[in-house]
């Protein structure tokens, strides 16, 4: 038994421990993260509807100001309409699909 292999084994064990610990961590906190991210997504979906309101046929009294918020939602538009169950872009002029 050389010192080298002992050190190697120790390192091996600590790596496995670390993996196990991370796994446990994920097992316990994962669901919370999912919940938090889902909440965030719901909030962002709401924001999307507010900003795109006028274009989606909901009269928006503040359309003049909402227009300035478009860049915030533009990038997520495609994944949003897919997620809410509209397969093709609901807005004619936004050809994201």
């Amino acid at each position: 038994m050389t010192a080298g292999t002992r050190a190697q084994r120790r390192e091996d064990r600590s790596r496995r421990w670390a993996a196990f610990r991370d796994g446990l961590h994920e097992f316990y906190v994962g669901p919370y993260r999912q919940t938090l991210l889902r909440e965030q997504r719901d909030e962002d979906d709401l924001f999307m509807i507010v900003v795109l309101g006028e274009a989606l046929g909901v009269p928006d009294p503040a359309a003049y100001y909402s227009a300035g918020l478009l860049p915030a939602v533009w990038a997520d538009f495609h994944s949003w309409h897919k997620r809410i169950g509209i397969p093709a872009s609901p807005l004619d002029h936004i050809a994201c699909c």
Binding site: A55, A62, A75, H93, I94, A95
Partner: protein
């Protein structure tokens, strides 16, 4: 009374039913204040501008000097919502093209074009320009007089700052919640993605908007800074509308400080006019009993067309001399 009001306020809104002489009264009040050494900015918010007709010259969206009187002067502006809308959307388009990838530019700009023509954009632009003029005239003028559109239009416009403050607050709260969820999710697994720049920029936009609306709301509902002058004539419909305006102003928290009854018929110029004057007294009594202790100033029916600074000067004399009843 009216001159004292003009000397002690920073903003005056002049409103009332269409065709009662709001523009002449606003302009004459501006003249009276300028003669007393005030630097006055006179702004027409009515899309159907006639401030230019009253001054007998063409006016634009940029202030133009229409009268100088010793230390005092009057600068006049006719708000052009279209140019404000163009400026606003040019700014938004610039932001969008900076923040979005090239392939999205065309559709983003197309979408903006739709928003440009959305109902309400016109009104929002007028309000935006009013806010701009209030801010930019803070150091250069002592008084800003707004000659406004007929009542309904104006009251809606004055209700906007409050509504829009609420609207921006709601959106900011939504962004806050979204960020907090994202941050909480990140803290659960250690840091993942940094905050995107687009969002930070929009938040800045929202916050400055909110502050602007809130500030405007604060200044128009401060009775020491802002008053509303209701112009009417002594006839049934204008009187009914004036009473209505006074009530609605109370609801908006805006101070109706004075009522001007314009074009009173003379008692000594023939039977017809004397008879009309009798009739007017009744309507005036109705008005008096409905508006409590708001002072009512009366301006006699004047001959000739009210145009040019000479005629406005005569009307200004009447405004200054008028006794309240």
């Amino acid at each position: 009374m009216l001159l004292a009001l003009a000397c002690s306020r920073r903003l005056l809104f002049v409103g009332g039913k269409g065709g009662v002489g709001k523009t002449s009264i606003s302009a004459a009040l501006a003249v009276a204040r300028a003669r007393a050494g005030g630097r006055v900015l006179l702004v027409s918010t009515d899309p159907a501008h006639n401030l230019g007709h009253v001054w007998d010259r063409s006016l634009s969206d940029e202030p133009a000097r229409v009268l100088t009187s010793g230390e005092g002067f009057v600068d006049a502006v006719e708000i052009d919502p279209t140019s404000t809308i163009d400026r606003h959307f040019a700014t938004v388009a610039a932001t969008m093209t900076r923040l979005l990838p090239d392939r999205l530019h065309a559709s983003a700009l197309q979408h903006l074009d739709q928003a440009r023509t959305a109902p309400g954009s016109h009104e929002a632009a007028v309000l935006e320009r009013i806010a701009e003029l209030i801010e930019s005239s803070r150091d250069t003028h002592d008084l800003v007089i707004f000659d406004t559109a007929p009542s309904g239009h104006t009251l809606r416009l004055l209700a906007l700052p409050e509504q829009l403050t609420g609207w921006t607050e709601t959106l900011l709260a939504s962004r806050d919640r979204s960020d907090r969820f994202a941050a909480a999710a990140r803290s659960v697994v250690g840091s993942k993605d940094a905050e995107p720049t687009a969002d930070a920029e929009l938040r800045r936009t929202l916050i400055s908007r909110r502050d602007r609306f809130a500030q405007m709301r604060g200044s128009i509902t401060d009775p020491d800074a802002t008053s509303f002058i209701v112009v009417s004539i002594a006839e049934r419909l204008p009187v009914a509308e004036s009473i209505d305006v006074v009530r609605q102003l109370a609801g908006l928290g805006i101070d109706p400080a004075a009522i001007v009854v314009n074009r009173r018929s003379p008692a000594d110029a023939g039977a017809l006019l004397a008879q009309r004057r009798e009739q007017e007294e009744q309507h005036l009594a109705t008005l008096r009993s409905a508006v409590g202790d708001i002072p009512i100033s009366q301006i006699p029916l004047l001959p000739g067309d009210l145009a040019g600074s000479e005629a406005l000067s005569v009307l200004a004399d009447h405004l200054v001399a008028t006794s309240t009843a």
